[in-house]
Each structure stands twice: as structure tokens, then as C-alpha cells.
Amino acid sequence: MALTTNPTVWKILLVMLTLITIFFGVFFFFIDIFITFVIALCLIIITEKLMNNYKRHMHKYSLSKFMSKLVAFFLILFWVSAIVFLFANSIEELASSIANSNEANINSFYQNKIKPLIPNAIHNRFRSDAFIENSSKYLLSLLSTALSKISKLVLNGILIIPLMFYLYFRRKEEIKSRLDALVPLKYHQAYRRAMFGIAKQLHDFFAAKVIESVIIGAICCLGFFVAGVKGWLILGILAGIFNIIPYIGPIVGAIPPILVSLLDQPIVAFYVIITIFIAQLIDNLYLIPFMVSSKVKVDALFSIVLILVGSQLLGVLGMLLAIPIYLVYKIILTESYKELVRIENRKDS
């Protein structure tokens, strides 16, 4: 289908593009809060799915509304306590593993296992002893920084996430009607159609990626638990989150558990690699073909370019968010373009 030559449509799209870019620009300025918003969005999607499942199951037992809510309340209390308990244990384990580790672990592993395999000529040429010492110092500081960042995110999350949940589940209709009231009456139908299309596509995309991440995270948690990685829960969940980044994500997700296991017991790093390999096998053979590919359509080369641009702008966070942000732009602008063309064609006719 040929693109429209109507200047009004392109002017409006340009304004929308600028507004979306400003929106993301502001968010990236307050990056910690933005990450919390994204996490809250993913949690809202998971919660909505669980709520719908819960309502479907409770329907079988014919409980009164009060009893259903009471059961739901106790279930939520139970699960929040369980999650806090599990996370607290995992963070403590990870933090103590990093605190107790020192360069000696990596150095001794290198001296006993790796150095005998390297010819002396190469060892002397590249001064690998000094390299290993500097690398292990850098790795330790990187891990400590990462842990403190995670703690800061958790603090932001405690403040922002409950509010977002309240706004979404209690005030959703009110917010929608207020936005509707801003749109001129003659564009109401077109606006509703566009919003419905945008919301559905964004929801489908994020839901598919969240479910994929949850499953990969669960497989990694299980594998790391069996392998004996300290802080297996946090690291498994991180591996699941990083899996969102296509092609490079699994490698990036494997780095923290490998580093932590190198600091603790280097042989465990080998088991971590096996776990990541099995998780990726399941992801590529089952999850992507049957769950994700129908909802997410991005050209492979283009997605790699996007990830590289994202990493240039914002580092690891940019890599994580490059594809979702591109899809937000694409969906909003495509749906808006379709509706604008429809409106302009109706005006002309």
C-alpha cells in the first residue's frame, strides 16, 4: 500500500514522534525511576494474568464475593511474605559470597588450573598474572556496584510499585475516561480504535516477553540451584530478564553467575554454562516458535542494529530496552497513521 501524501497526516505524526521522544528522554533522565516503572509494568501484566486465572478457578467453587476477596488477601499476604523471605535469603547469600571472596580465589584457580596449560612464551608476552590480578579487582568492584544498584531499585520499587498497582487496578477506567474527554468528539471513534490497537499489540508483546523471561528465569534458577551458585534465585531471575535482549541477552545474562561462581568455586562456572545452554535450547526450540514469534516481528539485522545503538546510548539498559522502545514507537505511529489516513480520506470524500 502506497504511503499517503497528505501533509496533515505527516505533520501530526511528526508531532507525535517528537512527543514520544520527549517522553522517553525525560524518563531516561530519571533512569532509576524509569526502570522501576518498567518493572512495575511487567509485574502488573503478571498480576493481571494471575488475577484472571484466580477468578476462573474461584468461579468453580461458587464462593461469595467477600470470601473470594478474603482468600485472595490471604494468598497475597502469603506469597509476598514467601517472596520477601526467599529474596532476603538470596541477597544475603550473594552479598556474603562477594564480601568473602577476594582476588585469591580467581588467582589460585588461574595459577593451578589455567597457567600450566598456557605456554611460557604467551604467558610472559601478555603478562597474564598482572592481567588476572587487575581483572579480578575490576570484577569485584563491578559486582559490588551491581548489588548496591539492585538495593536502590528495590527501595524505589517499594515506593512506586504499590502506587502504580493502585492506579491501574482501581483507577483505570477513570483515567481512561479523563483521557477520552480530552479528544474532540468527532475523533472519538478513531481515537478509541487506535488506542485499542496500540494497547492490544503492546500488551501482547510485553506479555509474551514476560512469560518467556519467567520460564527462562525459572530454568536458570533451577540449574543454578543444582549447580550450587550462591544467590541462585537473584542470578536466575537476572538471567531471565536479560533474555529479553535478542541474540546478545543470553550471553549478558550468563556473565553475573559465571563471575560469582568464579569467585566462589570456579568449577561451578562450567555448570552455569551448561544451564544457560539448556535454557537457550528450550527457548529457541519451544518458547520462541510457539509463544513469541507470532507476537513480536522485528527483522534480525535491524534488531541487532537497534541493540547496538541502545548500548551506545545507555549501556546494558539500552540493550535491554532497545527492542521494546522501538516496538512502542512502531505500534503507536503505525496505528495512528492508519486512523489519520482513514479520517483524512473520509474528510476528502
Partner: protein
């Protein structure tokens, strides 16, 4: 001639491997209430097999998983005695699969623990005085609770993975 139980055999094999892996896991946590005892994470696998796939799978995973684990490096006399209790535990979880919600089905762990403790006592692996200790029952309760939570989480993730739109 086509083998008609291919899917069931695959399910049982995966769960048996999972049982043995968890039995030999390096991250096994000690039970904070019972000195010298570890949380038997692998006990939830036969229950899971029963809940997810049915009573036959629950029974066979309980039997073969425990048997193989008993022959593995993590095996001991307790594991050998646990073969029948774990089989019964897996079978009961699968038997009531369609009748009760997951948290109730996960409480099949209680059946496994009761049968285990009975056999351990009969074969004098556990002194009778152990049962008089409140800490001991607290430890058993803690293990059951951990197992129920883990089963509920895994069931939810399994539903997510296999849900058809």
C-alpha cells in the same frame, strides 16, 4: 508398531532426571529446625509429577526417581526406605488431581513424610525420642511449607508455558 506411551515416558524421564539432579544439588539448604537434616527439595518432584501429569506418572517418578537417587552419590539408607512412600505420595497427588486445587494436592507431601518417618522408625534409623521434640515437628512443618510453595510456583510457571490462547 507405534509406541503409544511415548509422551508419558518422556514426562517420567524428565521428572526422574529432575529428581536425581535435585537430590544431588549443591545448594541444598540445611533445615534450620532439625540439626543435621537437609531440606528434601526432591520430595516435591513425585508430587509435581502427579499434579501435572497424573497418578501413573506420579507413582513411577516416585519409584524410579527415589531408586536412582538411592544409587547415586547422594544415596543412603533413608533414600532406599523412601522408595515406597514417595511412590505412594506421587500416586495420591495424581489420584486427586482433578478434584482439589494445587495447594491441597501439594499437601500430599505430608503423606510422604508420615510414611517416611514410620519406616525410619521401624528400621531404627530414627529414635522414638525424636518425635517428642517440638523442634523436630517445626522442621517437618517448615519442609512441607517450602515444598508446597515451590510446587505452587512451578505449577503456575508450567501453566504459563503450556497455556494455549
Amino acid at each position: 508398531m507405534k509406541f503409544k506411551y511415548k509422551k508419558e515416558c518422556f514426562q517420567i524421564s524428565i521428572m526422574v532426571i529432575l529428581y536425581v539432579l535435585l537430590g544431588n544439588a549443591r545448594s541444598i539448604q540445611p533445615n534450620p529446625f532439625i540439626e543435621g537434616a537437609n531440606i528434601a527439595v526432591n520430595m516435591m518432584v513425585p508430587v509435581l509429577a502427579g499434579i501435572l501429569f497424573g497418578r501413573g506418572q506420579g507413582l513411577l517418578v516416585g519409584f524410579f526417581g527415589t531408586l536412582l537417587n538411592a544409587l547415586s552419590p547422594a544415596g543412603n539408607m533413608f533414600e532406599i526406605l523412601a522408595i515406597i512412600p514417595h511412590s505412594i505420595m506421587g500416586f495420591s497427588a495424581g489420584y486427586f488431581k482433578e478434584k482439589f486445587p494445587t495447594p491441597i494436592l501439594a499437601c500430599s507431601l505430608i503423606i510422604g513424610h508420615i510414611l517416611n518417618l514410620s519406616l525410619f522408625t521401624i528400621f531404627q534409623l530414627l529414635p522414638l525420642a525424636t518425635f517428642l521434640s517440638f523442634q523436630f515437628w517445626l522442621g517437618i512443618g517448615y519442609e512441607i511449607l517450602t515444598g508446597v510453595i515451590a510446587i505452587m510456583i512451578i505449577k503456575a510457571i508450567y501453566n504459563l508455558a503450556t497455556e494455549k490462547e
